[in-house]
Amino acid sequence: MTFALKGGSVEPLRVAPDTRTPHVTLSQVTRSFKKAGTKEMFAALGPIDLTLNEGEFFSVVGPSGCGKSTLMDVLSGLARPTSGEVMFEGKVITSVPDGVGVVFQEDASFPWLTVHDNIAFGLRRSGVEGAEVERRVAYALGFMGLRDFAGAYPAQLSGGMRQRVCIARTLVMQPRLILMDEPFGALDQQTRLLMGDELLRLWRETGATVLLITHALDEAAMLSDRVGVMSSRPGLFIDMVETGWDRDRDSRVVSTPRFGEINARLWDKLRVETMKVMGARH
C-alpha cells in the first residue's frame, strides 16, 4: 500500500489497501484556544469522533473558520488536542509520526532550492541512499509533469506547478497517510479538475489514506469515498456522505446525476452552517 519502488525500476507498486482496517482514529478530540489578550478560552474544534480506514479518500468541508485546518494540525501531530486522543496505526500521536505527509494550502516550496532538490530534500535528510533518491525524484518529476523543470527554482514556476512540487516532495517520502489542506485553493477551476484527476491517480497508485480539506464542494464530491460536513465553530461533523464512486473514478463523474445529488446534499447542510457564520459576522 505504499509508494515503494522496485529495485532498479521507477514504477510504483500497486497494492490494494484494506479499506476496512482503521488507519486513523480520533476519539472525543477537542481543541481550544486562549482569546487574545484574555485568559478566556474558546472551543475551536470538537468533540470529534472519526475513523479513517486504510486507503480511504476522505474529504472535509465546512464553513470558514469552522476548525478544518485545526483538525488537520491535530491529525498530523503538528498540534496536540486539548482533550481526547488521535491514534495513527494503533499508536497515540504526540508529535508528527513517521508515515504522515502533509500538503499545505500555502506555497511550502523552498525558494532557495531547485525543483529537483526540493523534491529530494526530505529523502536526503532521512538518509535515503543517493541512487534511490534519484530514482524516486525522477519518478515524481515525471509523474507530476515537472521533468522539464527539474533545474528551475520555485520562483520561475506558476502557482500550480509549485503546488505540484510540494505534492511531489510529500509523495516521494512514501507517506501512508496524506493530509491535504486546500492544496488547489489557488488554482483556476479547469486546473483544479485536472489536478484532481492527478490526485486520484496518485491515491490509486500509492494506496495511501488521504484526508483532503477543501472549500470546494464539487472537489470533495468528485474525489472522495466519503465527505464529512463540519458545523460552524466549534467544528463538529454534522453529516457523513458516502459517494459510492469506484476506485477508478476521474473528473468525468461530474457529469453524472449522482454527482449533482451529492453536491446538493452537501450544500443543503453547509448552507445553514454558512448562514450561521455570516449571521454572526453581521
Binding site: 503538528l78 508528527v96 504522515v100 499545505f104 511550502a108 525558494p111 532557495w112 535528510r125 527554482y153 520562483a155
Partner: protein
C-alpha cells in the same frame, strides 16, 4: 547596464571630472585639494612601493575580524532574541534607538579594557556593526512563512536542524542585508577608531599625513578607502542580486 546605472556612472564621472578641472585650473588650490588623477597616481606609487603595506594589512585585518564577529554574534543574538518574545519586546525600543548613541564616546573604556591596538579598535567596530545584524536577523526570521516551519515539523526535523536547514536559508536575503550593513559599519568603526586609538592602520596614516602636511599621502589613502569600500560593496551587491534573483516571484 540600464539607464539608471549609466546615469549614476555619468554623475560620478562628471563630479570627478569637475574636481579634476577645478584643481588643474587652480580654482581649488593644491594646498587644499589635489587633483583626483594625482591622488590615483600617488596611490599607485605608494602602494607599489609598499609604503603603507603594514597599515593596510592592519586595517583590513581589523575590518575582517570585526565584520565576522559582528555577523556571527549578531545572528546568534538575533536568533536567541527571536525565540524569546518577551525579551524581544523589552529590547526592541533599545535596538531602535541604538544608533542615536555615539559609540565612539566609549573609546576610553575600550582602551582601559583592551589597551591600544587591535582589541579596542575591533571592539568599537563590533559595537557599531552588531546591532544592524541583530535587527536584520529579527526581520529575516519574522519574514519566514510559517508554512516552512510546519514543513520542517512534518519532516520531523529538530529545532537545530530547522534553524540550520530551513530558517537560515529562508532568511538569507534579509540576513545578507544585515551582512552588508555590518561590513560597512565595521569599515567605518575601524578607520575612525584608528584616528584616535592606534599607532598604525589606514586611519592612523591619514591622521599622520594630515598633521605633517603630506597632502599627497593623505588624499591617496582617502582614495584607497573609497575604492576599497566601493569594491567591497559592489561585490556584496552582486551576491545579493544573485540571491534575490532566484527568489523573486
Amino acid at each position: 547596464m540600464n539607464i539608471e546605472s549609466v546615469l549614476r556612472a555619468l554623475l560620478v564621472a562628471g563630479f570627478i571630472g569637475l574636481i579634476e578641472l577645478l584643481c588643474r585650473t587652480h580654482v581649488i588650490p593644491q594646498s587644499v585639494l589635489i587633483a583626483p588623477s594625482q591622488m590615483l597616481t600617488h596611490l599607485v606609487s605608494v602602494v607599489s612601493a609598499g609604503v603603507y603595506g603594514k597599515d593596510i594589512l592592519f586595517s583590513f585585518t581589523n575590518i575582517a575580524v570585526a565584520a565576522l564577529l559582528a555577523i556571527v554574534s549578531g545572528f546568534l543574538v538575533g536568533l536567541a532574541v527571536h525565540s524569546m518574545p518577551r525579551l524581544r519586546a523589552a529590547l526592541e525600543p533599545l535596538l531602535a534607538s541604538y544608533y542615536a548613541v555615539p559609540t565612539f564616546i566609549f573609546y576610553p573604556v575600550f582602551i582601559v579594557v583592551f589597551g591600544v591596538g587591535h582589541g579596542s579598535i575591533i571592539a568599537i567596530a563590533v559595537l557599531l556593526a552588531v546591532v544592524a545584524m541583530i535587527t536584520a536577523t529579527l526581520t529575516g526570521l519574522d519574514r519566514i512563512p510559517g508554512v516552512l516551519r510546519k514543513s520542517a515539523a512534518v519532516m520531523r526535523m529538530s529545532r537545530l536542524q530547522t534553524a540550520w536547514r530551513i530558517e537560515l536559508p529562508a532568511a538569507l536575503p534579509y540576513l545578507f542585508g544585515g551582512v552588508k550593513l555590518a561590513v560597512a559599519y565595521a569599515f567605518i568603526g575601524v578607520i575612525a577608531s584608528e584616528f584616535i586609538l592606534s599607532g598604525s592602520g589606514i586611519g592612523y596614516a591619514i591622521a599622520f599625513a594630515y598633521n605633517n602636511f603630506e597632502s599627497d599621502n593623505m588624499y591617496a589613502l582617502m582614495l584607497l578607502v573609497l575604492i576599497s569600500v566601493t569594491l567591497i560593496n559592489a561585490a556584496l551587491n552582486y551576491f545579493d542580486r544573485r540571491l534575490q534573483a532566484r527568489r523573486q516571484r
